[in-house]
């Protein structure tokens, strides 16, 4: 018992003097899994940013003299049926994954943020109708909605981003709305209204900043999900198209066909997808624990 009281006292004593770095260190010690996730995400970003420097081949260059090479010194993770270097394509694939992941998560969550806060702020009939519309969208499984959107707009990176963004919007809006509902009841919103501020000003200046915690949680959780959906769509042939290097696409066709004779083609891209999503999920969980006071231990 005494030990517990001790740590609490030292904790509060040191709070104002803690530097950013020690804060980070404490976060890592409290959330070893979250820190691991953060490192994976960081590595992935570095991979995407410096892809030109850390690879020896062109991601789209065919070389028919080295088809189906198993992993060796020249090709660390082997080559595919066109003699393309698997390692190079995985590194460049990180770019596609991060672009699609961040763009659709961020846009979807932002639109959902504005809609959700607006719905909570206006309340009444508007809120009710809005909720029913969201219900309709939510009734479609993510991948089915994305499939429908892709078949309208066509394939390719940009259209995949749109296809993943649209089903994210109602999910983000719902979460944000529930936090915003509580904020609407706090007196300072009434005060702002009494001051005669416009609706837009109250929503954007007074309510949106207060739902930033759920917003950030949604974004990090959504990035991982978006990467997974992009891979699934590309795997089905309805996402990113050849020759763009993308992880899901690398598992399509060749990888399955040659799985027995060239298992590296099937193993490594899938490992990349799993690691990336794993990293974002771990990091997102830790972020939620840190930002959501209700879930914080102690």
């Amino acid at each position: 018992m005494a030990i517990v009281t001790d740590t609490v006292i030292t904790d509060t004593d040191e709070t104002p003097r803690r530097s950013r770095l020690t804060q980070l260190g404490q976060f890592a010690r409290r959330n070893p899994l979250g820190a691991a996730g953060g490192i994976i995400v960081l590595v992935m970003m570095v991979m995407a940013a410096f892809a030109d420097w850390i690879t020896l081949y062109e991601p789209t260059a065919n070389d028919f003299s080295v088809m189906h090479e198993p992993p060796n010194a020249a090709h660390w993770l082997g080559t595919d049926q066109f003699g393309r270097d698997v390692y190079t394509r995985i590194v460049y694939g990180a770019r596609t994954a991060l672009l699609v992941g961040f763009a659709s998560a961020f846009i979807g969550a932002t639109v959902g943020l504005v809609l959700g806060v607006g719905s909570a702020y206006f309340g009444g009939k508007i809120d009710l109708i809005f909720q029913r519309v969201m219900d309709v969208f939510m009734a479609f499984p993510l991948i089915i909605m994305a499939l429908a959107v892709v078949s309208i707009f066509g394939t390719g990176v940009m259209n995949v981003i749109i296809a993943i963004t649209i089903p994210f919007i109602p999910r983000a809006a719902r979460v944000v709305r529930s936090s915003a509902l509580a904020i609407r009841e706090i007196p300072y919103i009434d005060a702002a209204r009494t001051c005669g501020f416009s609706h837009a000003r109250i929503i954007l200046r007074h309510m949106v900043p207060n739902v930033m915690a759920p917003f950030l949680i949604i974004v990090t959780a959504a990035v991982g999900q978006a990467i997974l959906i992009e891979a699934s769509l590309s795997y089905l042939g309805l996402g990113v198209q050849e020759p763009t290097p993308a992880w899901g696409l690398m598992l399509r066709g060749g990888a399955e066909e040659y799985a027995e004779s060239a298992p590296w083609m099937a193993i490594f891209p899938g490992l990349a997808i799993s690691l990336a999503v794993f990293g974002f999920n771990l990091f997102g969980d830790a972020l939620r624990d840190a930002l959501d006071p209700k879930l914080r231990s102690q």
């Binding site: 070893p32 899994l33 309709v136 479609f140 899938g270």
Partner: protein, 324 residues
């Protein structure tokens, strides 16, 4: 209670109606023409007259509102029409595959429950020990791993082990037979996709079991049970677990509805002729009637599962009463 059930059933109608509007117009926004695809498959030029005849035959020449009305009336009277692509009744085409997809879905759910509840419980009881970390890692890995990749790995594993043990590669059977006709062939075909989807499914449920149980274990009545010297296993099993099941049931219910979506990809990997595959092919073929029917099926299943989950709540937790 009955009032609540009626109200919920009534509230389902606008959702279904909205979904009908959404799918109807989304489909008609997709560029392309089913008649064109159907006729072009034979090759050569298509006569304008033939194309127009095909439109008349499929009823695509009628005004939009008329087509929509037919679709909605058809849905509520359970008449889904005929597939524009194969010309056979939609009910028949769906019925052929529904059995397979439903069996995979049920087997995946069972797999998930069998993995999730024991693992989630151990993880919560041994919170912040290495067991907890391993279980959490295992379950987060399940969410991170794309089920189609897991499927590819399973196939690869089957190929390699069968070759090593029996000298010849063995592949799961390709032809579907109902479980009551030939259980061995049926299971040796469907167990793999069920495992691939079930693992992913279990991951969400494991995490939910863990966090729900952790919350319940901090409740006063658990402390009371401990104070009176009850065995820890009894506390967990009899007092905590049942009360922690509430959110777990929700997750399992919601995920069950979404399994239909998840199967789209898994069926592709295992080359199963199920609803997911039918969905992808009917979207690419612009088969309006079939796609509409499938989407409405998924949405209806989803709405009903939500409804049943809500009712289940009241049964699990007597504090919840629906008499508003």
């Amino acid at each position: 209670m009955y009032q609540y059930i009626l109200k919920r059933l009534f509230l389902m109608i606008p959702t279904l109606f909205g979904a009908a509007i959404l799918v109807f117009f989304l489909l008609r926004m997709i560029p392309g023409d089913i008649c064109f695809l159907r006729l072009a498959s034979g090759g050569g030029n298509i006569d304008a007259q033939v194309l127009a005849n095909c439109h008349v035959e499929l009823g695509l020449d009628r005004p939009m509102w008329r087509q929509f009305l037919d679709f909605v009336v058809g849905f509520f009277t359970l008449d889904f029409g005929t597939s524009m692509w194969t010309g056979r009744p939609v009910i028949e085409e769906v019925g052929l595959r529904f059995q397979l997809s439903l069996q995979v879905a049920i087997m995946a759910t069972l797999t998930a429950i069998l993995i999730a509840i024991p693992l989630g419980t151990i993880s919560a009881v041994k919170q912040n020990t290495w067991i907890d970390y391993v279980v959490r890692g295992f379950s987060i890995a399940g969410i991170a791993m794309p089920s189609f990749w897991l499927g590819i790995l399973i196939i690869l594993g089957i190929l390699i082990t069968s070759k090593a043990w029996f000298g010849a590669s063995w592949m799961p059977p390709i032809k579907y037979v109902p479980i009551w006709e030939d259980p061995v062939q049926n299971l040796s075909m469907l167990i793999w996709p069920a495992l691939a989807t079930g693992y992913r499914y279990s991951a969400v449920a494991t995490r939910m079991t863990r966090s729900a149980l952790l919350e319940v274990l901090r409740e006063d009545y658990v402390r009371t049970a401990r104070a009176k010297g009850l065995l820890e296993t009894l506390i967990v099993r009899r007092h905590a677990l049942k009360n922690a099941m509430l959110p777990v049931v929700t997750v399992i219910g919601i995920e069950f509805a979404f399994l239909m979506g998840g199967l789209v990809v898994t069926e592709q990997v295992f080359n199963l002729n199920g609803l997911g595959k039918l969905f992808v092919s009917s979207v690419t073929n612009h088969d309006y009637t079939m796609t509409q029917a499938l989407v409405m099926l998924v949405v209806t299943i989803f709405a009903f599962t939500n409804f049943i989950v809500d009712l289940f709540y009241a049964w699990l937790d007597p504090r919840i009463r629906y008499n508003r």
